[in-house]
Symmetry: C2
Subunit: 369 residues, 2 copies
């Protein structure tokens, strides 16, 4: 079977690999579902009951396209953040929005700076549009702000990616450091500031909205997939100056937002009590994962997210432990690049799932020797 012959040279050059293999794919390969789903940084505490009710209520109108302006949701977010409607763009998760931002700026050879071992889906988009990635090693398991800035200047990069808090290490910088980093960037470099885990970070981690407002070269990305527990609906948003954000409307899939997803996100935003309760439960679960790790000789790294990196000492041991836990029905993931890959990455979840981890971990460590 031959392929169509006129795909672009860029398309033909792209690797067929995907950023992440889904847990369902692994389950099909194993021939069994995972007993504990602790690998995708989802929120096992679920969406609010009010959100589940809103979904059921919206279901009969599934026949209607969603509002292509996501007006109600944008308005609610604008009020929540204290910004204007045209400073916000809604999209199919942070992943979808990252793809649009990259498309607007990256063409063949455009230099883009990120951390070595940073978020793979961002890299996937950069490569997918022909850009050239320039990577900066982590420093002490943190994204290296000075190193990123130096690389931006050296390479005259068009974009620099920073996740705060970080995935996969769960580390974070304080708001003042991030603001200083943003202000030190050349105006010709866009800061893609991924704050997907922002709601779960300690106070003082996210720069106040006003501190980065008015900067045409800063876009902040957030999501309903993490703390709000709506990963399955694909609702993310980003915000920046109205003029910069206006470019998204030239390329986005206007009718791409699910109607139910918009309704679910709107209900989630309104239920801040649930969010607060989730933040507390995530914090407790992080503590417990840390304690389980420590009890087994695996030091937990400090976390500002809904997952914990457990230090296994070296990448070979970490990979062996991951494979063993996955074989035992515990879905987890690990960083892809050394030295971060000396860790396994365990997402929070409710106690019954952490009970399974607690039981499986010592056995798994024994097996890998």
């Amino acid at each position: 079977m031959t392929s169509f012959s006129r795909f672009t040279a860029l398309a033909e050059s792209l690797p067929p690999t995907v950023p992440f293999v889904g847990p369902e794919t692994q389950e099909r390969a194993r021939g069994a579902v995972f007993a504990a789903r602790l690998g995708a940084n989802e929120s096992g505490f679920g969406p609010a009951p009010s959100v589940i009710a809103a979904i059921a209520e919206a279901a009969p109108l599934s026949w209607r396209y969603g509002d292509p302006e996501s007006y109600d949701l944008r308005q609610a977010l604008a009020a929540h953040l204290g910004i204007k409607l045209d400073e916000i763009v809604i999209g199919e998760g942070v992943d979808g929005l990252l793809g649009l931002a990259v498309r607007l700026i990256v063409e063949k050879g455009t230099k883009v700076v990120t951390s070595l071992g940073g978020y793979p889906t961002f890299n996937y988009h950069v490569v997918g549009f022909g850009g050239t990635l320039v990577t900066v090693p982590y420093r002490g398991d943190h994204e290296d702000l000075d190193g990123l800035l130096e690389a931006v200047r050296r390479e005259n990069a068009a974009i620099v990616y920073l996740a705060n808090p970080d995935n996969p290490m769960a580390s974070w910088h304080d708001a003042a450091s991030v603001t200083a980093f943003a202000r030190a960037l050349p105006e010709t470099t866009l800061l893609v500031l991924d704050e997907a885990y922002g709601e779960l970070a300690p106070a003082g981690t996210l720069p106040p909205v006003a501190d980065l407002a008015g900067m045409p070269n800063v876009i902040r990305f957030r999501t309903f997939s993490k703390a709000y527990g709506l990963a399955g609906h694909r609702v993310g948003y980003c915000f920046g100056t109205a003029e910069t954000m206006s470019r998204f409307h030239r390329v986005r899939n206007h009718f791409g937002m699910s109607r139910i997803g918009q309704a679910a996100a709107l209900a989630a935003l309104k239920d801040q009590d649930w969010l607060n309760s989730v933040v507390a439960r995530v914090s407790a679960a992080r503590e417990r994962i840390g304690a389980i790790g420590r009890a087994n000789g695996l030091e937990p790294l400090p976390s500002a997210t809904n997952f914990v990196a457990l230090d296994c000492g070296d990448p070979v041991r970490a990979k062996a432990l991951l494979d063993q836990l996955v074989a035992d029905g515990i879905f987890i993931r690990m960083p892809g690049v050394a030295p971060q890959s000396r860790c396994i990455r365990v997402s929070v979840g409710p106690d019954p799932e952490l009970d399974l981890l607690e039981r499986a971990l010592p056995e798994a460590l024994k097996r890998i020797g």
Copy 2:
């Protein structure tokens, strides 16, 4: 306020216009909701009760990302169509999939052939990736197969778009003509065959799957948004040779499919009784819209879709009538290009909405004189 300065030249060249203004946007401008929603070719008959139940059942697991392989849905579709799993790609509606197909093939100056007044969202994607549209006038309110073929050969086009049945005219070609068209194309031209309305067309309209199988330069696009009544979930699919389809995986947003949407589409596919009942109700509603038109001197064009084009004689009168109906709370649309724009386009809906149309139309015609 200035914008970020390093958007690509292509991004800066794109117009800020959107393919369609949503009814909600018009409602906000009017300050009132529409009494009848008959403009977006949605299915006012709704999704099946079994689908609504499936959505409610899936809601509590909204915290999980959807399966990035959409495996269960792809497998069900493969069985339904009698093809293989790797010959199908699921995406965020036909619109999303059209964007990916265009991205894979179109770069600056790539020639793409479509009908003058054909589907605007396809054109939006072509322009968005820097392609050059070559348009062929409709002939007798049908897409002109001979004209399209001639343009493809003359321009050495990389893509030709054909909607069968057509939107916005609701006309169709029989399967044999479409198959002959596909086979006459150069192998270096991809046929984007948009069959979004296929389930609603008379028998003998869609070429049997086997008749176009094995052709690397044919991709067929279908959706759960129309007959299945799930526009709000954004679930479309396309199929072709495995080798051609594999290219989508290099650029698609792997975790972009809503989990609830996958569950809803799977339930919808299983409920073919509901589909059949909707097909019958759509057919009856088409007849009724035609009768309402005729009773008011507006000749209905034959329709193989869930909407009817009513001939108003000339574009000025059609536009005046559309504006009047919209002002009266009846949401409809119309073709954008002459001579098709002598028509208004009315989507099917349940009787209470058509009652409103029946009442409003003679009054509106009187007002516009």
